[in-house]
Structures are given as C-alpha cells and as structure tokens.
Symmetry: C2
Subunit: 406 residues, 2 copies
Amino acid sequence: MEGDDTLRLRVFDLNCWAIRYLSKRRQERVRLIGDILRQERFDLVLLQEVWSEQDYSDLKAKLGGCYPFSHYFRSGVFGSGLCVFSRFPILDTLLYQYSLNGYPYMLQHGDWFCGKSVGLLIIKISGIVFNVYVTHLHAEYCREKDAYLPHRLVQAWELAQFIRHTSKAADVVLLGGDLNMHPEDVGIRLLRGWTGLRDAFAEATRFEGCEDGCTLVPNNCFTVKTELLPFPLGIRIDYILYKAVSSFTVKCEELKTTTGTALGTDIPFSDHEAVMATLHIRRQGQAAGANLGTAEPMLVDVVTEARTEVGVGLRAAQRQRYSTGRMAVLALLLLLLQAAAALGALAGLADGQPFPKLSFSLLAFLAIGVLLLATGLHLFHTMEVKMLQGTEEQMRMALRALQERP
Amino acid sequence: MEGDDTLRLRVFDLNCWAIRYLSKRRQERVRLIGDILRQERFDLVLLQEVWSEQDYSDLKAKLGGCYPFSHYFRSGVFGSGLCVFSRFPILDTLLYQYSLNGYPYMLQHGDWFCGKSVGLLIIKISGIVFNVYVTHLHAEYCREKDAYLPHRLVQAWELAQFIRHTSKAADVVLLGGDLNMHPEDVGIRLLRGWTGLRDAFAEATRFEGCEDGCTLVPNNCFTVKTELLPFPLGIRIDYILYKAVSSFTVKCEELKTTTGTALGTDIPFSDHEAVMATLHIRRQGQAAGANLGTAEPMLVDVVTEARTEVGVGLRAAQRQRYSTGRMAVLALLLLLLQAAAALGALAGLADGQPFPKLSFSLLAFLAIGVLLLATGLHLFHTMEVKMLQGTEEQMRMALRALQERP
C-alpha cells in the first residue's frame, strides 16, 4: 500500500510463443523473459504459450528469489501453456477448460491439442482479495473466412460466465491474456459487456509502446508479415482487463507495451509484444453495486450478434455431423456388401474366384478405415453441436433476463 | 415463506436411468416420473440420466403447468443427462465438465461419451439466493478393483472446488445427484470436508424409506442382484447435500426415499430410488463465517488419502502412456521396414518377388491401424497424466494451506 489506502500493482502479460522444436530461438527468448522479469520485479506475471514444463521449471528456478509464488496450469496434451508468477501467496486455483477448441484433425493449427482454458488464482494483497484470470483463446487463422469464430465466441462466453460466477466474493478482478480478438470484435464486446471488465489500454492515464497499443506488429522479426498486410500498424489481441467489484476502485495509471528487441540483444521476447500495466487500487467509502460493463440496450445487441454467429457455427456443425454420419453408413454398407460377396464365394455360389484377393482386401481395409474415421468425426461433431446448442440456449436465457429487467 | 422468516423447500432427486434403446420400460417410467412430479408439486426437481432430449421435452411439456422453469445441460455425445425443473425462475446457469471421465475405449461402460459434468443454477426464492448444483459422477463397476477411483476422485475434487469458487455470493448451497460413492468413501468425505456441505440423510429429523437411506436396493426389479450381493440392504449413492453460507440456517425436516414400485403400477421409477428432502431455511441474526465441514486435522487426513489414490492413478496412467507410446514406435518401425523392403523390391535389389503381395499389404494396413490407435491412446493418456498431476498439485497446495493455518 502507498500511503494508507492505495495499492499500486504492476502486472506483466505476455504470450511467450515457447513451443518446443517449433518456436524460433525459444530457449534464448525464455532466458531473456526471465531476465526482464527479474530485473523489473513486477507484482504479478501472467504468461501464455509456455508449452514446455521444462521452460516453466527453468523460469521458476530463476525467478524464485523475486517471485516466490507460481503456478502452472496443466491440461490438454501439451498443457494449457498458462502460468503465473507472483510476489504474493497464491491461495487457491481453479482451471476451466473451454468446451470447444477447434478440431483435432486440423493438425496444422493444433489448437485442439492444447486444451485451451482459463486459469483462476486467488491472491490476497494487503487484505484485498484479487481474482486473477489468465487465458488464451483459439487463434484466428483467416480473418476473412474465420472458421473458428463460433468456437472463439463460445470460449469468450464461457470465460465471461466463469468470471461472473467465480468472482462474486472478489474485491478486484484482473484478466490477462491473448484473447485473439481485435478490440472492436464481437467477442471482446461480449466479454467486456457481460462482465463489466475495463480495458487497461482504453483507461490508461499514460501510454507508452506500440502505436494503438498493438501487440502483434510488423516490426517484430518473428511475426508473419503477410498476415499483417491489412493492418500496417499491427493488431491488438493481448489484453489486461480489470474491474473492482465491491468497495474499491481501480485506475490504470500507466500502460506500456514492449516495442521490439529486448535491451542489449537483436531479438524480441516473443512474436507478441508484452503488455505491462500499473494499476492503482483504492478503497472507497461506499460499496459499488455489481454492474454490467455496457448499457443494457447495447448489451442486448451484442449478445444477439454473438448468438447469431454461434447459430451459424451450429448449422455448420450440424452439416458436418450429417455428412460424417452418412460417410460412416456408406462405409458400413460397403463392408457388408464385401462380407456378403466373400461368404458367397466361400459357399461356392460364384463360379471360380470372382475378385482378385489383393484388391478385395485393400478395399475392405479402406472401408474399415473410413468407417472408423467417419464414426470418430461424427461423434466429435455431435459433441460440437451439443455445446453450440448449449451456448445458444444460455445466450437466449441471458437475453430474456436482460429484456425483462425493469 | 412460512410465517415471517422460514422458507420450506421440497427437493426431489432421481437418477432416472433413461438411456434410449437400453433402459427397460423407459418411456413408461418417464411417464410415471412425470406423474409423480405433477402430483407432488415439489419446489425443485434434480434429475440425472435423462439422456434423450426427447424425454426432457416430453417432461417439460407435461410439467409446464406446475414447474414453469426448467433447464437441460448439454455436453458430451449424448448430453450430460442432467436436467432441472423448478417452480421458481432460474436466473443463470453454468456447466463445468469434469476433466477426466473414464476411457473412450471402454465402450461397455460408456461413461466417457456422456460428458459427465456438474451443472449450476442460480435461483432466488423470497430474496434468498440459492446455488443449486446437480451432478453425476463416474460409475463404480467393480468395488474390489475400482479402476475408475482416481477419475472419480478427480471429479469429486473438481466438484468441491467448483462449488467453493462459485458459491461465495450464495445464501444457500444445494447439491443433488448420483455421486456413485458410499457415504464412508474417501470421495464423499473429501467433498463434504472441503465444501462444508451436510448430508440431508444424516441430518434429517424424520426419515422414511429404504433402510439406511439406500438408493440402489436389491428389492428394485431393475437392479443387478449379483452386484449388490455384498450389500444385502443395498447401497446409498444418491444424495441431497446442503449448507447455508451467510446469515441463514438450513435444517432437513424430513428425508424420504421411494421404496420400489410406483403407486398403482408394477414397476419402480428407475433402477435407483428417488431422494426427497424437505428443508427449512431460516434467516438468523448474525452472519455465520464460511467454514469447512470437517475439523482441520481430519481434513488433512482426508485430502492426504485422496491425494494418495490420485497418485496411484497417476502412475497407472504414466505406465499406459509409456506402453501405448512404445506400441506406436514399434508400429512405425515395422512400417518403415516394409517401406524399405518395398522400395528395395521396386529397385530390383531383390531377386524376383520376395513377399506375397496380399500378406504384405495386410501387414502394412495392420501396422497403420496399430500406429493410429496407439498414437490416439498415447495422446489420451498424456492428457490423463496432465490432469492427474494437476489435481495432485492442487491437493498439495490445499494441504499446505491447511497446515499453515494458525
């Protein structure tokens, strides 16, 4: 606490792009990240894409002196990539894995294997209860034809619902992470509107860093320049959001982003820029009521827009469920036909050997392969349909509640 | 409210055993369940194993008059099976899907496909905020050698953590469901100890129903008698648990179970007995502090016991991850060997045709099949290991917090 009633909190957030064997100069960059964290002594460090537990352990060993508390959230095949370092004790944690996260067969994107989640940490500083959330939503690979938009919207909705339901006893809520959404995207408006979280960049008294607060910029030597062609300044997809939920106020005094290479080296920390916020938390006389972040008529529009997009995803998932189901049935019919033909041949109904054995066996194996694959995909798309329907239903309920309010 | 300050709440809980094509006399029983619910007019109805959305819709249509509010939780391939009917408006919902829930290849058990979850509903009655949870944990198929114990313990832990983190603004917490654990099992002790929930059966002033409150009894014509041989009275695995978290007290005035056939018919409602509780909720003068359900030294023992079992599961999962990984590598080696031999034959290095084409192709297809299957299983067990490690770590953190308390 500064003086009697103001707490100053310095928060660091970075998507570290630390994928084993794939990310360029990973170990060097993880060392650089460790160096800056040790040097700057933030209060709270929220990291994403730390996919290797070894990297986390190395950071933990290096930072033990200035950040005695830390947590790594495990999920999916490669872990969640989410971890936190803190100067203050972490009292409790909870992980919520998003119900939809891309497709297992999109190997080139790989999001499905990462078990994308939101991690919650409870931290108490000077008697103030902080609910700190760290997350990473599904990537956007093609903005013009974004096949993952419905999944990302389900994630944004689940994130908002998770925050609302778990933060009721918190004094201050903090969310940091790579949301993979531009500030004006429907997912961000939904998240902010439905939770009342404020954007540190928009609220900051002072700002220093990349123009427009961008965190994926063409100047960074690791970004794919062609993807950023429509955005000459870059894009802002990494955020620090906050709100006070009881008798506290939070103000963002300063927001910074890194702007390329780390001090004294020729490389940046990551393909993303880090976001650093200095927050002032002040106890105020009277308790502020819980409030939504967006005026309600506007919020109705945002939820309706999000629901429409989820509906588009639902119909696409239903089509895929149908076509994979049909494929499985066709493969099964082919197999049955082959079985009948083989039995007929065995029983001597046909004259001689009607099929060459090799092609016959190859065809059977192919049919079995297609049957298994199509059945697996059918089950997967059935789950996808269920979750999209569930989210649409929840949004419908939210809209009704909003419209019924006096 | 009765008088000024007491609310009387009648809660019904039942595992309906309504699996399409598999459960005996399903439609007849769903009709009977609808009849009793309409006749008895409970305040809150918590159902599990309603796997068909059609059954839910039929119940909804039938019960619309006396239970105007309802919700079906969607997840997994067949849905979560969880649904709720209420006389009072449902203000909000949230679904948390357990991170572990059996194995996809255990088709004869099928739990994995159900997306077992806990559903949360927020209901406000006479100004009192109720957090109502409905859940169904992984079944126990063999008590002597329970391969699913670690998964069920992870679920019990996640359930407890989810309740703790989401119920902080609730006045009253209610949990109903089929927990698939006997009252003395470590999972139940963990859940009750870590959340402070009380068992309506143990607390009830009056009890009426099956002896010892059993909900899976040999007298029920749908239960498998051989499975209940070691328990002549049956077992109690369906629960209504509750607690008051602020300035309220909850008392269980009466607990009942059904005892076999429904009135006027020859069949019971389900293979489980229903649990019906009448609760008295009273506003009291001073706020009660949040408290754990079990004295702390005992709670340390319970968490330690649970952590040991999770550790056993972790080592089993690590062994399976290793053996499936090894199998995948062997299949890959075989494929490479075949490719080399085929290339050799094509290049004319071997004299004539060394392999019969048919067996050669069959072997290749077999190797591809084994490679795909083993890789899939390896990924699955890698995720299992991650989640078991994550739970063990959370339990370790909980133990440290318990031991550090003054």
